[in-house]
Symmetry: C2
Subunit: 282 residues, 2 copies
Amino acid sequence: METRELRYFVAVAEELHFGRAAQRLGIAQPPLSRAISRLERRLGATLLDRTSRAVHLTEAGAVLLREARAALDAVEAAERRTRRAAQAGTGTAGVVLATKAGAAGELLAKLLDAYAAEPGAVPVDVLLCGVGEQERLLRDGRADVALLHRPFDSIAGFDAEELRTESQVLILPAGHPLTRRPHVRMDEATGIPGLPLPRWRGRDGTYPDGPGPEVRDHAQLLQLVALGRAAAVLPESCRSQLHDDLATVPVLDAPTVTTVIAWPPHSRSRGVAGLVRTATRL
Amino acid sequence: METRELRYFVAVAEELHFGRAAQRLGIAQPPLSRAISRLERRLGATLLDRTSRAVHLTEAGAVLLREARAALDAVEAAERRTRRAAQAGTGTAGVVLATKAGAAGELLAKLLDAYAAEPGAVPVDVLLCGVGEQERLLRDGRADVALLHRPFDSIAGFDAEELRTESQVLILPAGHPLTRRPHVRMDEATGIPGLPLPRWRGRDGTYPDGPGPEVRDHAQLLQLVALGRAAAVLPESCRSQLHDDLATVPVLDAPTVTTVIAWPPHSRSRGVAGLVRTATRL
DNA sequence: GGCAGCGATACCCCAGGGGTATCGATCCGG
DNA sequence: CCGGATCGATACCCCTGGGGTATCGCTGCC
């Protein structure tokens, strides 16, 4: 199977419409129809049920859609990482580290400093991204290594080392009555009148239903809290980045958050290995 | 990048010789040279240093070799799993479970029985393989789910659930003086005169240096022990499969062995999900 | 210096990927 | 119930590019 065929199939499987898929691919519809038929013939499998009015995925088609996405990510990653390895000047290639914007601030700074001081250290580019994006960046090769936060981020499919575990705190506008409490419980944090917890954007770009404002990164969230429109429960290390217009209260029964450094299992290059070693010794 | 180009590059990178690589690929040498040049031009990267006497990988080439192998595995897996999903009769596709031949005997039997009794269970094919092969089978799609044993097998890149943890025992021919001991230490087990521990075959098909016979699965190993040519340290659950010509002694300081059920992170199909659910409830 | 080994180049052929025109089936509005 | 709109499949054509053979140019080596 050629990657072109996989790309074609994914386009059709996502659009469920040969015409639109062809348009998206920048080709005409007939060659696309032919390519899919040929793919089906070679696989000995019907991938799509087509009536002349609608297209549906068969069970085999659903399997191929999942697998093809993973395979195309892997091919894309190969291309990107090779390009980066080549262009990073003659000599040792750099490494791209992905982390959530606004999270893991001092840990990240310490890691970068400590690693830069190592002998044989390689240049590190930091890629700040939205919540939940790191997984995709690692998978398609835009990043080589990432800082993730369990249990929020999934480390499925990656190698990882734990760096730090911390408890969470409730973040409120300074002066809110609850800030005088020594600690709160989770059910108190979720039910503050007028200060709902926010809804985080999912990987697919949609937001869960419910009350609370929609947010996609920490800066947005903290601003909303400062404006008195929301409360937040975040790992306690975020306190170092708060202005004095925000106050924190420990949440006793919130799940603890583990910061991990993760990388694709097959691509433990020298740069990644060094960064991981430095991180675990921090 | 097309998978053909990746296959071509991997062949050359492994052979470090255009002629042999072309032969392996079943094409002539000139088109292979051209394909690699074109790949290099498109990537904007030199992948191979070629003098007219020798070919070496550049740094970018080494990156691409690693990444290309992973990508080709993913493409191969896509093809195989789709074929299986299609041919598994009309209706629900089966699942292939990989496990080491001779290991996890009763656990496996219990799992298969319990799962088969579930409503909506899917046919399960069991694929018995050599030590350390499961990783490759999962990666290239010949298997969908596997029973692995940490710390011997790496679960890098897979999702996994722990099933059972057990300690290890020393296996000796019946009547050996050490069998009268209530327990032994690891350093005693490794130094038995005339009964060396075996050398396991690595993933690359080679054996580590040292004394001891070369083995690749449990059946071979147990036969060697029965013949008085080796001793073995194995998880205690293997006792249920020993004839009375073999005896066991607990090893106090051997690492504990955890049996896990693992699967590729993106491919949690209905069959795999059900099997994992059943396994964790066992 | 002649020779053997190896990758690159030159040149040719045709399979196949891509395009346009059109067909055939199906759904829908009137 | 009919005509038009929609959509995937088919027919046919063009030409890119993948694959082949012959050969060159370079490099070690006896």
